[in-house]
């Protein structure tokens, strides 16, 4: 049968038939066959860098979970097991790129270089966002699902209009692909050729609901095709593959070819949050099977087999991770001081009489308390 121009165009949108994988769970290199695009093994120094940040990221994640048990965090959504996605994406982006994270991206934001205490401010409960989004080009962590993707599309369009060689990347999970804003964001980004990357971490559960009850689509990556958007699916527990697919997506977006969707197949090793009992909806065998696909162990095996990582280097990174955890624990054990009057500071840039009346009322209450020595 003759190949038409339309066939070629459709082909360009399609993801690879199987998730792209460069390193298998044993640490062996996988020969590239049948992928839609060529994917090269990232350089040794990038892989070493990603391994180091994954170790740091997991230690941070474990510490944050511990802080929840100690009552220092109101809630914590762990991303343990998703290190290749969280770290691989962030080590591919530059500081001039924008990021639109969800509540699960704490590890990604720490990898971006944001102070871990500032990252955890939302979950600690002392403020809704602890860092400066404009300074870090990182939007506030979003709790409503998929709503931040439309912002990413708009920001990507703004970057295009400004002539910046930058992208806006939005993270979501598999459940959020069912939301209306997922559709609207993809459609807007595609129509306006916006340099946006939609990174779906398909970790198999939306709180307790499995992927099979979320969608009938054979792959979440295919959802992009309907919008006229290029896409790819990747083994989300293979850090090398995540880097390689991110590189392709970034080339695509920076080259002016519009948005790109990546579906990363991964697994959430812990419950949705500490408030959830994962044993009610998934089996221990399933969790154990995913332990064998651990992204950190996989890359470590690959690096060690090639002499790119030795015990001394590994121990140095693990010590660095312990120091990070100790520092985080020490700083989080100090009760944050929150000024009640700050409530009124940022409702508006230009306040209203009604907000000012409320400010005066609370000021008077606090002054009275002080006079009475309370």
């Amino acid at each position: 049968m003759q190949t038409t121009t339309q066939d070629v165009a459709v082909e360009a949108f399609l993801p690879s038939p199987r998730p792209v994988q460069l390193i298998d769970p044993t640490g062996a290199e996988v020969t590239q066959e049948g992928t839609r695009r060529p994917y090269a093994m990232p350089t040794a120094d990038r892989l070493q860098d990603v391994w180091r940040h994954m170790v740091l990221g997991r230690r941070f994640d474990l510490q944050a979970t511990a802080l929840t048990k100690q009552g220092r965090l109101a809630v914590y959504p762990s991303s343990r097991g998703q290190e290749a996605c969280q770290v691989g994406v962030m080590r591919s982006l530059t500081t001039r790129d924008w990021v639109f994270p969800t509540y699960r991206e704490s590890m990604a934001l720490v990898t971006r270089g944001i102070d871990p205490v500032e990252v955890l401010t939302l979950l600690r409960g002392s403020a809704h966002c602890g860092y400066d989004p404009m300074k870090h080009r990182t939007a506030a962590q979003c709790t409503p699902l998929a709503t931040q993707l439309v912002h990413a599309a708009g920001t990507a369009d703004g970057l295009r209009r400004r002539g910046e060689d930058s992208v806006a990347l939005g993270f979501i999970g598999d459940g959020a692909t069912s939301e209306g804003d997922f559709h609207e964001a993809l459609n807007f980004a595609a129509v306006f050729d916006a340099p946006a990357i939609f990174f779906v971490q398909n970790n198999k559960y939306a709180i307790s609901v499995p992927l099979s009850k979320q969608t009938k689509a054979p792959s979440l990556a295919y959802k992009a095709v309907g919008y006229g958007m290029a896409c790819e699916q990747v083994d989300g527990n293979d850090p090398a593959a995540v880097l390689a697919v991110m590189d392709a997506a970034l080339r695509h977006c920076r080259g002016g070819s519009g948005p790109f969707l990546i579906e990363a197949h991964t697994y959430r090793m812990d419950a949705h949050t500490n408030a959830d009992d994962a044993s009610r909806y998934r089996s221990g065998d399933e969790v154990t099977a995913w332990l064998d696909r651990d992204p950190i162990a996989r890359l470590e095996a690959y690096l060690r087999a090639r002499g790119l990582l030795n015990d001394d280097q590994a121990n140095a990174v693990r010590q660095e991770a312990e120091a990070l955890a100790t520092d985080l624990r020490d700083r989080m054990n100090v009760d944050p001081q929150v000024d009640p009057m700050s409530l009124f500071d940022n409702v508006f840039s230009q306040s209203t009489p009604q907000v000012e009346q409320a400010r005066a009322m609370v000021r008077a209450e606090l002054d009275a308390d002080q006079e009475e020595g309370r």
Binding site: P133, M134, H151, T155, G180, D181, E184, F188, S349
Partner: protein
């Protein structure tokens, strides 16, 4: 030889043309101002409010979007991160509801939740309310939803001059503004001086002075309130009419001064009465002017029903007779006895 005349500073404009002129002037003044929404480009909007803007400024500045209200508002939020000042059009009041999640969860809260780091200098234009024979979902009074959401400013001009200057102010405002345009006023015509800013937003306007009773109103209900005040005058009642102009911020001062002066007050609003802006006004007036009131504050509002089919909207909407009946219900013959309350000696 011909002499080029400077454009007249004062023009006679319809309400919709005044908004069009405000958009044109704001876009000429600042390249960061973008106008987008459904059918706002070549068509110029279903009410022609954006007429000619694409032709004048190009498709990069005034453009059509896919049909998706949440997408439109969310896209505008994203553009704000890169320094743009988006103005978006929600084609009709009830069509904005799919965007409510973006408006309530993000537009209203972004400045607050980012500790003032992120500003959203965006304007959401909403043609609203009824009186034009619109079919279902085309005539809602949705101002209460927005006014109830902390972090949003809610403007509702009633005159062409306010339409022009309040939109210019909304576009200049660093905070997000929901700009409610009463559709019934689109074809009203008046002189607009585009050379000198009008009355500042946040101040209510006394549209008709009076000493016996205060009608407080805004947007689509101003015209009927003025009509009722004129009819009441024929029966000897001197009615003051206050146009709020903005619901957020609310000008308590002008409202309370008027009510303390007249001692009687009716809030006229087209929105259904229950849990609405009119009730908020009544509560505030009772709290702040209790000792000056000779009668309870009354509301004349839309009925507690979904907005009806066009052939029944005249029954639904507050009209002159309903306002005059309310004036009668204000216990007209009783002089307020303020001495018991220690207000007057």
């Amino acid at each position: 030889m011909t002499t080029l005349e400077a454009p007249a500073a004062t023009q006679t404009l319809t309400f919709s043309k005044a908004i069009n002129q405000a958009l044109r002037d704001a876009m000429a003044h600042d390249d960061n101002v973008l106008m987008f929404g459904e059918d706002v480009g070549v068509l110029g909007g279903v009410f022609r409010v954006t007429d000619g803007l694409t032709k004048e400024f190009g498709e990069e500045r005034c453009f059509d979007t896919p049909l998706a209200e949440s997408g439109i508002v969310g896209f505008a939020i994203g553009l704000c991160y890169t320094g743009f000042r988006p103005v978006v059009e929600m084609q009709f009041d009830a069509f904005a509801y799919p965007a409510f999640e973006q408006i309530a969860s993000h537009v209203a809260k972004m400045h607050n939740r980012t500790n003032g780091s992120v500003s959203l200098p965006m304007v959401i234009r909403v043609p609203y309310a009824g009186g034009i024979g619109g079919v279902e979902h085309h005539c809602d009074s949705s101002e209460g939803y927005y006014a109830h959401t902390p972090g949003l400013k809610v403007y509702t001009p009633a005159t062409p001059e306010d339409a022009y200057w309040m939109l210019r102010a909304a576009i200049d405002d660093p905070d997000p503004v929901v700009f409610m345009e009463p559709k019934v006023a689109y074809w009203n015509k008046a002189d607009v001086d585009t050379s000198a800013p009008g009355q500042p937003v946040g101040e209510a306007a006394v549209r008709r002075p009076g000493k016996d009773v205060t009608l407080i109103t805004y947007g689509p209900s101003l015209a009927i309130s003025l009509k009722a005040a004129a009819a009441a005058a024929e029966e000897g009642w001197d009615v003051e009419v206050i146009d709020l102009r903005s619901i957020v911020p609310l000008d308590d001062r002008t409202v309370m001064e008027s009510v303390r002066h007249t001692g009687r007050c009716i809030v006229v609003s087209e929105a259904q009465e229950f849990a609405g802006v009119a009730g908020e006004l009544a509560a505030r007036i009772t709290e702040q002017c209790f000792h000056s009131l000779a009668a309870p504050v009354l509301r004349v509002s839309g009925l507690p029903l979904p907005y009806p089919a066009p052939m029944l909207e005249h029954t639904y909407l507050p009209g002159v007779d309903r306002i005059l009946d309310a004036i009668e219900r204000l216990q007209w013959d009783d002089e307020p006895d303020l001495t018991h309350h220690g207000v007057q000696s």
